[in-house]
Amino acid sequence: MRFVDEYRDPDLARALSAKISTLAEPGRHYKLMEVCGGHTHAIYRFGVHDFLPETVELVHGPGCPVCVIPMGRVDDGMAIAERNPDVILTCFGDMMRVPGSNGSFLDGNARGADIRMVYSPLDALRIARQNPDRQVIFYAIGFETTAPSTALTLVRAKREGITNFSVFCNHVTIIPAIKAILDSPDLRLDAFVGPGHVSTVIGCRPYEFIPRDHGKPLVCAGFEPLDVLQAIEMIMRQLADGRAEVENQYARIVPWDGNRQALATMADVFELRPYFEWRGLGFISHSALKLSQRYADFDTELRYDVPGVRVADPKSCQCGEVLKGVLKPWECKVFGTACTPETPIGTCMVSSEGACAAYYNYGRYAKKRLPLHV
């Protein structure tokens, strides 16, 4: 992938690292939140920490699609798959391991349910076409990056008149989550690294309230390690200049106004839910999507008897605090002991984008400075 390699150049990384160190005011501690789980993953996967001064701290945000799914919604999906033998439940790979109170979808398969991993909701629709005698459900998760794919799939299903396909919609939206973080009293952040691919769809304008109302910079960033470092450098420059603005580091991909066609398709297919429960963050109003009236025939929640029971997180689980950035992964009581990637208690330990799993899998080594020129 030549396209990618040029964003992983260690010499450029060292140059940006030096600039960030220069911009950091001596004696000041900086807390920057990367909102998106894709960034959390990239930061640990590529060792971005190794290029930051110790006073620049990255706080992991709530933007991991799998992490914010509450336990009750996992149980709902499982109940539909287990009670209806004609159902093929499909979902993205990293959803398969999320624990519900009755185990994960992988456990459901071991008990005889038919839950399959797909790469795209269009693959789920293909399975529906190939299995006309089965009911195929797509268990949809994700922010505005993924919601357009689900929307487009529903448009096609309707156009083709496919009747054995429906969507169990858990799509969420990023702005209410950022608002919830900003309103949280126990967190003092200096700035945000904004989600790159979400912004491809929604553009940069929806973030303008952050500098305007809260006086904090946000820089939309790409997902290569140099993208993240450069976004941090841009944030540090804003802070040094005393500015607070929305800037776009990822201009090679993110248009300032987003993708209007995708937004129009989403507006046709979805409508806002009055409220939705987020794992750890609780109920947030107007923070999630359901199928619109026009697509009611494809709404799994209307087709099937869904338990819809709210299931409290295990008492020991502190995913909420981790998702809000209040706790670092290793500060959670059960991190790495009772809760590990193979026996996750909370969602943050499941997806490789979850702060806990990313830290456990990639970041768990003594942070003494390792030589870079071996």
Binding site: M1, G93, R97, L106, Y119, R126, I141, L226, G336, T337
Partner: protein
């Protein structure tokens, strides 16, 4: 108020847990137990080994060593349950021969002969079976190891996925061969015999779950010629070899450092990868270090012999893309670190369950 631990204490506590013998506490078998990662380790070391306990089994190598009247034999067995039966670059019959030959080779044993047990599902197309037997015969001939005995069972339709093959191999270990994770030393270089991740990715694409079209073929190949070349070139300076199958190179490295309680550093840029594999892995969010191989050796060699070892591997067509991918150090004990092409560091942990594509 519970005691608040520091980050370093938390990390140390986790290492203590990792060093303990894994326990098997699951109530049922899930697919994770077969993936070669942590769950597999819990099943093997937490249930199977304790119940069948004996010194040869406890070594947990690719093959067990058995002393017979002065000679050292290596014994190994492996079951093949791949779906689909044929995939780009190979098929179950070829895999069943090479897989067992390679377990012997990684143990430093010259493969002598194989036994094969076939489980056939009612309704299996006879032509498919004939084709797989021909593939076994061809692979056996290429590896120079005959299939000398076998068994056949037929199960009812729906009770098996067409065809399962179990092969058992016996090999001879020369008297001067000593290979074990405990022999690995700080400073040892880590070699891999070629490009990684092809078999697992070829299977994933052949299953048709992801709508990708890439020219990725399984790397199934017999490894004894490479193992023999390394043994001849390095002698006692070759400290350990492994066949990097399920769980990939990352899992093999973790198994070794957990046993010898040394650390390994992998220079990610040095890991040989075909661009098609890199592309498919990037797209699916899968780390190629965790993807299965069926024809790749990982070898630990004393540093001053590493270049000769590399030459020896590269002299053989199967090893043409061999590379030195890292080295062993005292620290961090029991862990594998990666130095990324970007210049940062990360842990390379054991795989948890099957590698599942991530979404965002």
């Amino acid at each position: 108020m519970p005691k608040q631990f520091t980050e370093a204490e938390v990390i140390e506590r986790i290492e203590d847990m990792r060093r303990r013998r894994p326990r098997f506490t699951d109530t049922q078998i899930t697919m994770s137990h077969g993936s070669g990662g942590k769950a597999s380790r819990q099943l093997v070391e937490g249930l199977i080994v304790p119940l069948l306990d004996n010194p040869a089994l406890a070594c947990l190598g690719d093959a067990a060593r058995v002393q017979v009247e002065g000679a050292t034999l290596a014994l190994t067995t492996d079951s093949f349950v791949v779906h689909p039966l044929a995939f780009p670059g190979g098929s179950i019959g070829e895999l069943a021969v090479n897989g067992t030959v390679n377990d012997l080779a990684a143990a430093g044993a010259r493969p002598i002969s194989l036994a094969a047990a076939l489980i056939l599902e009612e309704g299996l197309d006879a032509e498919v079976l004939r084709g797989e037997l021909e593939a076994m015969a061809a692979a056996a001939q290429q590896a120079g190891v005959p299939v000398v005995t076998g068994d056949t069972k037929v199960v009812e339709r729906g009770k098996a996925d067409g065809l399962y093959i179990t092969t058992t191999g016996v090999g001879l270990v020369a008297s001067d061969v000593a290979l074990a994770p405990e022999l690995v030393q700080p400073g040892d270089k880590v070699l891999v015999s070629g490009t990684v991740g092809e078999h697992g990715m070829a299977i994933m694409l052949a299953r048709g779950q992801v709508d990708l079209d890439a020219d990725i073929r399984s790397d199934t190949a017999p490894l004894w010629p490479l193992a023999e070349a390394l043994l001849a070139t390095c002698g006692a300076d070759l400290h350990c070899m492994r066949d990097a199958t399920r769980g990939g190179v990352a899992t093999v490295l973790n198994e070794i450092v957990l046993t010898c309680q040394l650390g390994a550093v992998v220079i990610e840029d040095k890991v040989p990868l075909r661009p098609e594999v890199v592309g498919a892995c990037e797209l699916l969010g899968i780390d190629p270090l965790y993807v299965a191989n069926e024809g790749k050796l990982v070898a630990f060699v004393a540093p001053d012999r590493a270049d000769e070892a590399l030459e020896a591997l590269r002299a053989h067509p199967t090893g043409a893309a061999a590379a030195i991918i890292g080295e062993v150090a005292e620290e961090p004990a029991g862990r594998v670190l990666g130095r990324t092409g970007f210049g940062g560091h990360r842990m390379i942990d054991m795989l948890v369950g099957d590698p599942l594509p991530r979404i965002c």
